[in-house]
């Protein structure tokens, strides 16, 4: 039981590290929060709303995302997010780092 909690906490920390990368990777085309949540979930990345929305705001304040409010097909206004030029540059660097890291970890864990 004790270990379960420890594992959960460590998993949370691990996920926190790569969630930004996952979100940036999925925003090459515009998405609003809930559609992004589903897109991530469809690919096996379950993420809580209370984690996603603050993360989106943080990435935007860092200049990695752009957003604007729009009314698309339905009457409800939604905030659409898309990766910025700076975000693309950062994503490309992060991707490289990630593949090195993941290779290193695979070697270490095998």
């Amino acid at each position: 039981m004790e270990n379960d909690e420890l594992v959960q906490n460590m998993l949370l920390e691990l996920r926190r590290g790569f969630l930004s990368l996952a979100v940036l990777s999925q925003l090459s085309k515009e998405e609003y929060g809930y559609s992004l949540l589903k897109a991530l979930s469809d690919q096996g990345m379950e993420i809580n709303q209370s984690t996603l929305y603050p993360l989106l705001r943080r990435l935007e304040s860092q200049g990695l995302l752009q957003s604007d409010w729009r009314i698309m097909d339905e009457a409800r206004p939604r905030r659409y997010y898309v990766i910025s030029t700076q975000g693309k540059a950062v994503l490309s660097k992060l991707k490289k780092e990630w593949s090195v890291m993941s290779e290193t970890m695979s070697k270490m864990l095998s």
Partner: protein, 340 residues
């Protein structure tokens, strides 16, 4: 207002005003999306929740409003990690000073009233600790308030700048930059000045002596009327000093303007100190005031002895002030001012 809107407004209550409207709008839009999708998925399914019950289930799942709001704002500090080390240092210094002054006062009062034994001793001790505790709480509260204000007034970018600068071990060997404002000095001066202003204006009676005569406690304030005639000038200089140091904290670097301001304030303080030193006594422990206390007979001598304290303090102010003026004037003419 329906349940969903009430929930959004409740989350908004815990959010900073600047971001509130925007987060509320996005949260409402998200919740409506989720609800709509659930309703569509549940259409034709008899067991699925509809209407208000569906909203209740959704909100329960989304979480307690306070927690939802917390996820947006992150940790908030009364005194953040950047200021905390200086805060801790100032608290230690001030507490030691209050304790030291209290113990000294206790020693003097106990010696005078000879309450070293019996029930009187315990009663005296109890009174002393209560008074000291009150003084320490007051001092601590004042320091917390000042630091909380600095935490909020000082721009966040300054905080980032400080931590973002690359640290170089060679800095340890370097001479300190004479144009750099020492943060701890500026904050320390603000706190000491503020504490002085608070004591002299709000609690002037704290400066005094306790007596226990025939089991009855009397408290005699020591400051004379003459002292209070100087108070408006002390206040003016104190406020100027605080404003000046707060400005220094923002600027972070000495400029020609701030050096001139510093000289003006210091010279004014020296002038006031000289006037106070040469004027009438700042301590009034005349026979009338001390009537009925063990010191009534020796009032004159005691008053003269006690007058040494403000005289010494004023002489220290004058000497330190002169050194400060000389140093500042020297740097005023021997510094190549940099823009940071």
């Amino acid at each position: 207002m329906n349940l969903l809107e009430k929930y959004v407004a409740e989350v908004g209550k815990y959010l900073p005003r600047k971001q509130r409207a925007d987060i509320e709008k996005e949260l409402k839009s998200t919740l409506e999306d989720m609800l709509e999708e659930r309703n569509q998925a549940g259409a034709g399914n008899a067991s699925s929740l509809q209407g208000e019950a569906a909203v209740v289930a959704l909100l329960k799942e989304y979480g307690e409003p306070r927690k939802v709001a917390e996820s947006y704002i992150g940790p908030r500090y009364l005194i953040g990690p950047r200021l905390y080390p200086i805060f801790e240092l100032i608290v230690k210094i001030v507490m030691a000073a209050v304790l030291g002054a209290g113990l000294l006062g206790y020693g003097v009062s106990a010696a005078i009233t000879k309450s070293f034994a019996g029930t009187e001793f315990f009663s005296f001790l109890g009174q002393f600790w209560l008074g000291l505790l009150g003084g320490m709480m007051n001092a601590f509260g004042s320091i917390v308030i000042v630091f909380a204000i600095i935490e909020r007034v000082m721009p966040a970018k300054e905080i980032e700048k400080e931590t973002a600068e690359e640290w170089n071990p060679a800095d340890l060997a370097k001479e300190p930059d004479p144009d750099e404002v020492k943060m701890s000095e500026a904050i320390g001066t603000i706190i000491v000045t503020l504490a002085g202003l608070i004591i002299f204006n709000l609690y002037p009676n704290v400066v005094g002596i306790f007596f226990n005569t025939d089991g009855k406690w009397t408290f005699i304030p020591m400051l004379s009327d003459a002292f209070f005639t100087y108070l408006p000038w002390i206040n003016l200089l104190g406020v100027l000093q605080i404003v000046f140091n707060a400005y220094q904290l923002r600027q972070r670097v000495w400029t020609m303007f701030t050096r001139i301001c510093n000289i003006v304030i210091e010279v004014s303080s020296i002038a006031l100190a000289i006037v106070m030193l040469s004027g009438p006594s700042l301590i009034d422990l005349s026979a009338g005031k001390l009537a009925g206390t063990p010191l009534a007979d020796a009032a004159d001598v005691f008053s003269k002895v006690m007058n040494f304290a403000p005289a010494i303090a004023l002489i220290v102010v004058i000497i330190v002030g002169c050194i400060e003026v000389a140093q500042t004037a020297y740097r005023l003419f021997n510094s190549n001012y940099k823009t940071k």
